[in-house]
């Protein structure tokens, strides 16, 4: 169960970054940003590193007291970074690997989408249309993402007593995938 998933382009800017809305997102952005240095270090270590030079999965990048950060680099130098909760000891290495594989498959599909320009942020329309979510939503660790015929979107309660909130529409298939990874282990 990931708390934050990020896709970083080869020029080191984020293509897609999403974290559970309960936490301070800034903290995750910073964490992902600092992990980029560790990723570069692992890639450039020639042969003498413990990690297999030819493999795409990089393994645990660095642990903090609350979280663990895992990395994966594709052949096109696109990096996937996943932050998981440290208290979740049930997550094993091969489960993380399979989550990364699924992410890679989804990313490949995004790449082959004719409406996507390589290098753009991954979302269905730039600057995204917004719509009003008519229900007051509890922001909590249990469910912050809801499915609907129009596709899943994350609703955030703007302030107590205010029943409406603005929800951006994001890229469907990729977002669905990431959502499922944040709710449960794949």
């Amino acid at each position: 169960m990931a708390v934050c998933i990020a896709v970083i382009a080869k020029e080191n800017y984020p293509l897609y970054i999403r974290s559970t809305p309960t936490e301070n997102e800034l903290k995750f952005h910073y964490m992902v940003h600092t992990s980029l240095d560790v990723v570069d270090e692992k890639i450039s270590a020639m042969g003498k590193a413990l990690v297999d030079q030819r493999e795409l999965y990089l393994g645990l990048l660095y642990p903090t007291e609350d979280y663990k950060v895992y990395g994966y680099v594709t052949n096109s130098k696109v990096k996937f970074v996943m932050v998981v909760d440290s208290s979740n000891t049930a997550l094993r290495d091969n489960e993380i690997r399979s989550m990364f594989r699924k992410l890679h498959n989804s990313y490949t599909d995004v790449m082959c989408n004719p409406f996507y320009n390589p290098g753009d942020r991954i979302q269905s329309s730039p600057g995204g249309p917004y719509f009003l979510c008519p229900y007051p939503v509890q922001v909590g660790p249990t469910s912050c993402v809801r499915s609907s015929p129009g596709g899943p979107y994350s609703c955030v309660r703007s302030s107590p007593g205010e029943p409406y909130s603005l929800c951006p529409i994001q890229s469907r298939a990729f977002d669905n995938m990431v959502t499922s990874m944040m709710i449960q282990v794949c």
Binding site: K10, N12, Y13, H29, H33, N75, S76, T108, S165
Partner: protein, 190 residues
Amino acid sequence: MADEALFLLLHNEMVSGVYKSAEQGEVENGRCITKLENMGFRVGQGLIERFTKDTARFKDELDIMKFICKDFWTTVFKKQIDNLRTNHQGIYVLQDNKFRLLTQMSAGKQYLEHASKYLAFTCGLIRGGLSNLGIKSIVTAEVSSMPACKFQGTMQKGVTDTPNKMFQWILCHRNGRLRRLTKPNIILKT
């Protein structure tokens, strides 16, 4: 082997489609060739992403060129490149003695002047594939006698990675407002 003919026929129609819909003067100034090359570029980017999904990481430029000559060419054209030459200073020449897209056209010098149209897409394909693997290049093709042709790729040196674009990370925040991260001390304060 009907599946081999699919891409070939589609490609031929694509070339004639681009030329039919060309506006005044576009044929002469080479805009049509550019359009075909750009099409190939985008296709190459997507294809490479798919093909390198399961392969191991590449060691160096030569490794990438070998991949293009063997696996990539086999998957697209059902055969490998016959000859790869390099001067180890960024110039690679890929020689294909029986290029699939030209075999149906002629077996000698006939239609030589039209060959460039049918090679533009493939040049773009190679360029797009290399670009997605991190190599900026210029790819040209030449034909002396059909169906043999040579693709020459010139790698552009001095492509540096831009430093971490920390200041351009944009936070999508609630209430739909975008906040731009401008200074590092903002992070330290929170």
